[in-house]
Symmetry: C2
Subunit: 204 residues, 2 copies
């Protein structure tokens, strides 16, 4: 998803391939770079479109020609660099898979400049329903991967038949976001381990 399709993608039908000046791919990248940079720098301060355009050396209109809203730019900037394919380990042992998934999630969110950027993005999403929507499709992929991982474990008998998998998913992502956003407690390997044990306990 790089939003290359935002401005009338269908309207210019095959009859007329293209005329006029072409889009500047360098500007496109410069905008994403600027957005990611500002997102990572910002200490909770909202990132403005003016700042993105100025940093990228681009007119505001150029930003809005490629993306429909500020939120879309920010999300695109973050996902552009993030691993889009969520691993979903499958070793045959629930405990191993789950611990790996949780550890990867914790680490991934805190690696490099991702953490401040992601925090700022979520804060923006709290007030921008459009962005909240976009983020939901982004997080849905991860939720699905995790749920599949749990389903495999349950099918192998590593979880009780009547286990509420959705609750487990929410316990994991609940703790993750809660600690990630408030920052009052760590999200390290030890926590990942304890959380894993807490969720598979009594079922083996």
């Amino acid at each position: 998803m790089t939003a290359n399709d935002h401005p009338q993608s269908s309207p210019d039908s095959p009859t007329r391939p293209h005329t006029g000046r072409r889009r500047n791919e360098a500007a496109h990248q410069a905008i994403l770079d600027a957005a990611l940079h500002l997102l990572a720098e910002s200490d909770g301060t909202p990132v403005t479109i003016d700042a993105i355009a100025r940093t990228a050396g681009v007119g505001k209109q150029t930003v809005y020609r490629w993306w429909p809203s500020k939120g879309a730019v920010l999300l695109d900037a973050l996902t552009d660099r993030a691993d889009q394919d969520v691993p979903g380990p499958d070793t045959g042992a629930l405990r191993i898979d789950l611990r790996a998934f949780i550890t990867t999630t914790f680490d991934g969110a805190q690696r490099g400049a991702t953490a401040p950027a992601l925090r700022t993005l979520v804060r923006e999403a709290a007030r921008d329903p459009h962005l909240a929507d976009l983020m939901q499709t982004f997080t849905a992929a991860r939720r699905t991967t995790l749920r599949d991982l749990l389903t495999r474990g349950r099918e192998r008998g590593e979880l009780a038949e009547d286990t509420d998998l959705d609750l487990i998913v929410d316990q994991i992502y609940g703790v993750f976001w809660y600690r990630f956003l408030l920052g009052h407690a760590p999200l390290d390997a030890t926590v990942a381990d304890r959380l894993t044990e807490s969720l598979v306990a009594g079922n083996d």
Copy 2:
């Protein structure tokens, strides 16, 4: 906490008791009522100070004379009505106490007009560090109560000595806020029950 102390409370020293017009208590209540009403009505839309003042039939300056910021008004409006004393059941059985606490938390947040108001408040807090601070002291009381409840259980031997109580607290509030804010899954008695079992499992 009704912020009666915001405008220079200490400066008017005991030497000069008071002269001039007194504060209008009716306006004070009208502002809180208006804020709570708008908070409850708002479907995610931010509540504005102008709207609060207009609804209360009050000048904006009057609002700012009593509260230092919009966030303070909103939080005050919500806590004015909420039960300030968090129960913290103590029956002598961890499972019972924990289930009661979680159920109360879930129910309390969804009773009456609280839910939309609280959701809006949190969204505002995401962009208003001042409000975020105020909210933290509000939630800290509940976290402490829960942690004490867990400590009592651990001392009775209902949890392993090396149990990470802070992680349990975060698992509970993590799930709560995650579901409360996203609204993708229920926060009912069944969930409270399953969550309780998940957290005390294997320790009895």
